[in-house]
Symmetry: C2
Subunit: 133 residues, 2 copies
């Protein structure tokens, strides 16, 4: 049995995939994979996702150079979430130029606060300042 | 503006929420929240989710005692994924009796391998041996 047959993709043929820094444990981003993206991720050992906005395969880093070297792939008990242990090249996973996409924290006053710094101007990361997603 | 209005729930009114151990950084589980579950999570500072299978609010630990004390709530750049930093009471997040739901790893031969131990028999965790999800 092919390992991909154990994976439960949703009604859109997608599964959420968490990218976690293999060394620090920081959760860097969550994106979606279809079967082909997951197969390519395992084959190349680099993060490949399905861009829901662009409706095409998205080899993370294809524009920014911020590719993800995949050290480990895990599946959860319900077979409907993937987690990758990665090395994030460039140290920036988020299209805003931050290390992680999870840079807003809910404070005690019920406000989302931006708590992480921009490490690199997105205009300097992408030739055209668009979403990589 | 209410902080909940910044959160993008999907076409089912849900958002995926990652529960990460606040101390070790281990990703323990991913479950879904509707607006009410997220509001309750913030209010009680305990993990409350929406059970898609039972179609009702699920206060994690309500059967098992394995509640989640929430230390921090973050939102990602697209406002469509939540991450919680938690203390997992009992040290078991998975209904299989394991610390984490992510206990299967893809090996070099293209097989999912169970690599984490069962810490407690699920029959001893739940009065009736059913899925808590």
């Amino acid at each position: 049995m092919n390992w991909l047959d154990s994976v439960k993709f949703d009604e859109h043929g997608l599964i959420p995939a968490i990218a976690q820094d293999a060394v620090t444990g920081r959760v860097l981003m969550v994106a979606w994979m279809n079967r082909e993206a997951l197969a390519l991720t395992a084959e190349r050992k680099e993060g490949v996702y399905w861009s829901r906005s662009r409706r095409k395969l998205w080899h993370k880093g294809e524009e920014s150079g911020h590719i993800q070297k995949v050290k480990e792939i895990r599946l959860d008990c319900d077979s409907d979430v993937i987690i990758l242990q990665i090395e994030q090249v460039g140290g920036i996973a988020c299209h805003t130029g931050r290390e992680s996409c999870f840079y807003r924290r809910l404070d005690d006053n019920g406000q989302w606060q931006v708590v992480d710094a921009i490490l690199k101007d997105p205009h300097a990361i992408y030739e055209s300042p668009k979403h990589e997603h």
